[in-house]
Symmetry: C2
Subunit: 289 residues, 2 copies
C-alpha cells in the first residue's frame, strides 16, 4: 500500500522524504545542494527540511558514517561528507592489511599483488572516504594522480570531497590539447620517467591533493609536486595507500601512508608484512573533523 504523499504529490510523508534526502545527498557526496532545490524535490518547507537534515546528520554521525554540513552564503546549502569515524578507519585498514598479507599475494620478484584491491569498487570507495577525511582540513579543490593504478583511489577521494580529478599521463596525451611534460627519477632512481598533464586540467592557483597507490622512493610523488609548481598550484597533501619501509629516505617528506610494507627481498619467497601505518586520535566530542 502506498503511504500518504509518496506518489509525488505536493507533500511527502516524513519517511519518504528522509529516504529521498539521504539518497540525494549520497548521490554526490561533498557537493553542496541548495535547500531550495531539496524543497522543490520534496515539496517540504525550509523549516521542515532543516529538521530532516538534522535528523540525518545525527543518525549518520552516531554510527560513524560521516555527517551533513550546512554551508552558508548565497549559494548555501547542505552537503554530505562521508568521513568515517577514526575507529571505523582503523578497523578497515587492519582488515586490508590482513587481506594483503595473504601468501597468495606474493609474486615473483618480491612484488605484491594488489591490483584487485585498487580496482575493487567497494575497497576504493572506503579508502577514498578515508583519504578525504584525512585531507579535508587542507581544503583541496582538486585531486591529482598519475596513471594507472592510483586512478580509482584518487577518483573516489575526489568524489568524497566533491571536487574534480586530474590524471597525469605517462606518455604525451596528444588528444588533450596543450600539455606540460616533465622528466622525473622513478622509484629508486634507476630509471627516468616522463609524465604529461594537459594545461587546462589544473587552473592556476589550484589547491591540489595528490593521491597514489604506492610509494617506494617517492620519485613519482616528487614529480607530481614539481609539476604542480609549474602549474602555479599549491599541494595541500600527499596520500598513498602503501609506502615501503625501505628506503627510509624518500624524495618527499610530508606524505601520509595508510599502510606500511616491510619487504624482505633477500629471503626466498619474498616475505613481507603489511601494517597499519596510520594512528588516529579519537575525534573531539561532536565528531567533526
Amino acid at each position: 500500500m502506498p503511504e500518504p504523499g509518496e506518489l509525488g504529490g505536493a507533500k511527502t510523508s516524513r519517511p519518504i522524504r528522509l529516504v529521498r534526502l539521504v539518497n540525494r545527498l549520497m548521490a554526490d557526496p561533498g557537493v553542496s545542494i541548495r535547500l531550495q532545490e531539496l524543497g522543490a524535490a520534496t515539496g517540504a518547507a525550509k523549516s521542515t527540511l532543516s529538521e530532516d537534515v538534522a535528523t540525518i546528520d545525527r543518525a549518520l554521525e552516531a554510527e560513524g558514517r560521516g555527517y551533513v554540513e550546512r554551508t552558508l552564503g548565497p549559494a548555501g546549502g547542505v552537503r554530505y561528507l562521508p568521513f568515517p569515524a577514526p575507529d571505523k578507519t582503523e578497523a578497515a585498514l587492519d582488515e586490508l592489511a590482513t587481506e594483503l598479507s595473504r601468501p597468495e599475494r606474493r609474486l615473483q620478484g618480491g612484488f605484491l599483488y594488489l591490483t584487485d584491491i585498487v580496482f575493487s569498487p567497494q575497497w576504493v570507495s572506503r579508502l577514498g572516504e578515508i583519504f578525504a577525511s584525512l585531507f579535508a582540513a587542507g581544503q583541496p579543490d582538486m585531486v591529482l594522480t598519475v596513471e594507472t593504478k592510483g586512478i580509482p583511489l584518487a577518483l573516489m577521494t575526489a568524489r568524497a570531497l566533491g571536487i574534480p580529478l586530474a590524471v597525469a599521463r605517462r606518455e604525451a596525451g596528444m588528444t588533450e590539447g596543450p600539455a606540460l611534460g616533465l622528466n622525473y627519477l622513478s622509484g629508486t632512481a634507476r630509471r627516468m620517467g616522463t609524465m604529461t598533464l594537459a594545461r587546462r586540467a589544473v587552473p592556476e592557483g589550484s589547491r591540489v591533493l595528490i593521491i597514489d597507490d604506492f610509494l617506494k622512493g617517492g620519485g613519482t610523488a616528487r614529480g607530481l609536486v614539481d609539476m604542480m609548481a609549474e602549474f602555479n598550484a599549491e599541494v595541500t597533501g600527499i596520500g598513498v595507500l602503501i609506502a615501503t619501509k625501505d628506503p627510509e629516505e624518500k624524495l618527499v617528506d610530508d606524505f601520509v601512508a595508510l599502510l606500511e610494507l616491510a619487504a624482505d627481498n633477500d629471503s626466498a619467497g619474498a616475505a613481507f608484512q603489511l601494517t597499519r601505518q596510520l594512528k588516529l586520535a579519537p575525534r573531539r566530542s561532536g565528531g567533526r573533523a
Copy 2:
C-alpha cells in the same frame, strides 16, 4: 534533542532506521546485504526491516532513482540497484551532449576535449549507473576496460552493479604476475597496439561487460573481445560513452554508444556535433529493468 533510540540503543526509531538503511544500501550499491546484518545494525526485527525496505524501494523508484531488490536463497538479502529511469537517463545524456558540443572543447587536429568529463566524479557516477541499467540483464560478473580514460566509467559501472573491475594495460604489467599479451589493430588500423592483462584478473568462465570511453574503428574493443576468448570468458556486452559516426563499418558489431560524434574534419576549426544515440523504451509498469 536526540530522538528516541538514535543513540545506538537496542531499538532505533523509524526515521533513524530509514536514514541508516539507505546509507548502508547506497554505500555499496549492487552488493547484497543480509537482513540479519541489517537487523544487528539497527536492532529491528526482520518484519520491521521488510517494511522499511519496501518503503525505501517505493520512495526511490517513484523518483526514478533505482530500486531495492530482495535476493533469495541462503545468502539472501537486499541490495540497492541505482538504475535511473529512462527519462532521467535521456535527460542526463542530452545535457552531456550539449556540454560536449561547446566550441571550447574543440582541439586542434579535430579532437574533442572530454578529459574533465571522463574524470569527473559526478559525471562518471551518473554514467556508470546508466551503463549498469543498460547491461544488468546480461548478468555480467565483472567489468573490463583498458587504461586510461575508460577507467573511471568502468569503475562506476562495476560499482553500480556490485561486481569487480579488471583493467588491461597498454604495456606489460610486470608487477602483476603471469599476464596474457595481445596485439591488436588500433583505431583506423593505422598502428599496432599491445594490451596485457594479468591471468588472475579474469577467472575462467567469467561473464564480462566491456566499458570504454570512446570507439572509433572499434579496434580496441575488438582486442578486448579477442582477449576474453583467450581467457575463456564470455562477453555479455560492450558499452562506450561516445562512438564516432565514421567509419560506419566498425570492428565490433554489438555495442551500445550513449552518444554519437559526427565530426567534420575537413572544415576549418574541426566542427563536430554530439547527439544522444540511445533511445529507450519507457519502462514497463513497476519500472523494473
